[in-house]
Amino acid sequence: MHNTIWAAARLNLKNLKLSYLVTGIVLACTLIQDVVLIILHQSTRMNSDQQSLGWGMYFYLLPLLAAVTVPLRNLRRMVNLGAKRSTVYWGGLVTYVIATAAASLLALISFYLYEPFVVRASGAVGRLSLIDTFGWASHGPITAFFQQFAFLLLLTVAIHTVVLMQDKWYGWVTDGVIVAIIAVFTPIAPLRGALVWFFSLIITSPSALQIGSCLVLTAVIYGLSRLVLDAKPM
């Protein structure tokens, strides 16, 4: 059983070409932009007043796009190869854990090593990074890695679950509920307070609480996705 789950994860990771391609293109384009800024700064000594998104943030695209590709494309192909639903389900989770861990690690390395170099070399005002914005960096790189990983994993399994249910009526209802929550909660102060509390919990709360709440929510949402998967005709 465990072998088939690892095999399913490997197969998923091998077949995320679109995710790799889009992530790669965006990273390459941003890298070229950075090189141009550095060259301009070195030749003109003019400082850029732009504050752009940090290069490492684009690694987030990998797990987020995987969460679309796996349920939309790979899941069915995996079953066509003779895999059972449980294999596909657990294989999917392993895929997301690996992709999220890789993206978190690369984003962290970029934050600590690449971004300071670009800021110095290009004279940029600064570079936006969620690691910094959400205050994860203040707890040190190891805690920052786990905080970022837990948040990104939660986001990934949420996208996976929503995408998985799009061919059912409750998928559309879920879409409507998400839009309604954002549209209705935001203008009304007490409801907005609830939204703020929720996002504070999963983003900026003390590290152990933030990691714990993200992982618990991840488990709950991925558990719900099993119900969706079981009801899905193949």
Partner: protein, 281 residues
């Protein structure tokens, strides 16, 4: 091994399977016949747990099958479906890695026997070759129950003969319950031991091929001589040619009087008479 009890599947107002009760108790090669839309694929998907029933129950080796609990004892791969665009070799290896009891040696032998290009990517294969890859993925599994949906679709005559031979070889090596759905009726008759015919979501016939040889026959002669013999017999179709008549029977054998001959009814003719709805009498 497979028990279907009052099984029903509906798609909105359309009925896919209509209260089917069927037992496939023993190992053997079962041929599942039916016209397009008769419910063959739906039946196989229900047995494999790929879809859920609207009513009734599917059991495989006593275990109730629902989509959340796809039985590991059943291997079903639908024909002509999208696969990962990998080389044939990689695809077979991938199948071996995600399935539970895959016979890699058998799969490798089949690839060589059918001269499938190992390095060629799936999307670059011909239609028949793609079907063959799917057939290999299904048949190389050593599960006690194998379900093959149109495994010879797009095959040329030689490939069909080779496939039948390999089906028998596979069965001889691992006796199990193999259900094959197909439109190529007389070809599968060479290898099948049992026959299940479904039409409009109902099981019309469940019999052994030996039973069919005994009970399916044609009475031919002058209409005046043939008609009286049909009383009390299950006549599934008749053909008129002038005053001559051929009546297709699915019932016990009778000894015909002089002037009426008995001939064997081929599986294809039997199937057409049973579900074709052409009764010229």
């Amino acid at each position: 091994m497979i028990n279907l009890v009052d099984l029903r599947k509906t798609y909105g107002r359309s009925v896919g399977l209509d209260h089917i009760t069927l037992d496939l108790p023993d190992t053997g090669i079962y041929c599942l016949l039916g016209r397009n839309g008769a419910g063959k694929t739906t039946l196989m998907k229900l047995i494999a747990g790929h879809i859920g029933a609207s009513g009734g129950e599917v059991r495989v080796n006593g275990q109730v099958v629902v989509p959340g609990h796809m039985p590991t004892t059943v291997n079903y791969v639908e024909a002509n479906l999208n696969q990962f665009n990998m080389s044939v070799s990689s695809l077979i290896k991938a199948a071996a890695s995600v399935q539970h009891d895959f016979d890699m040696d058998f799969a490798s032998t089949m690839i060589d026997r059918f001269r499938l290009p190992r390095a060629k990517k799936y999307k670059h294969l011909s239609f028949g070759m793609r079907t063959m890859v799917t057939a290999i993925i299904t048949l190389a599994n050593n599960s006690p129950v194998i379900l093959m949906d149109e495994p010879t679709l797009g095959f040329d005559a030689i490939m069909r003969e080779q496939f039948n031979a390999l089906l028998l070889e596979s069965y001889a090596a691992h006796p199990r319950l193999i259900v094959v759905s197909t439109h190529l009726i007389d070809e599968i008759a060479k290898v099948a031991e049992h026959l299940v015919i479904i039409d409009q979501g109902k099981v019309l016939v469940h019999a052994s091929v030996a039973d069919l040889d005994e009970r399916a026959y044609t009475l031919s002669g002058m209409a005046d001589a043939v008609r009286p013999l049909l009383v009390g017999l299950n006549c599934i179709g008749t053909t008129m040619a002038g005053s001559a008549m051929a009546a297709h029977i699915w019932d016990h054998r009778i000894t015909p009087p002089i002037g009426v001959s008995v001939s064997r009814l081929s599986l294809q003719d039997f199937f057409i008479a049973l579900v074709g709805g052409n009764n010229n009498a």
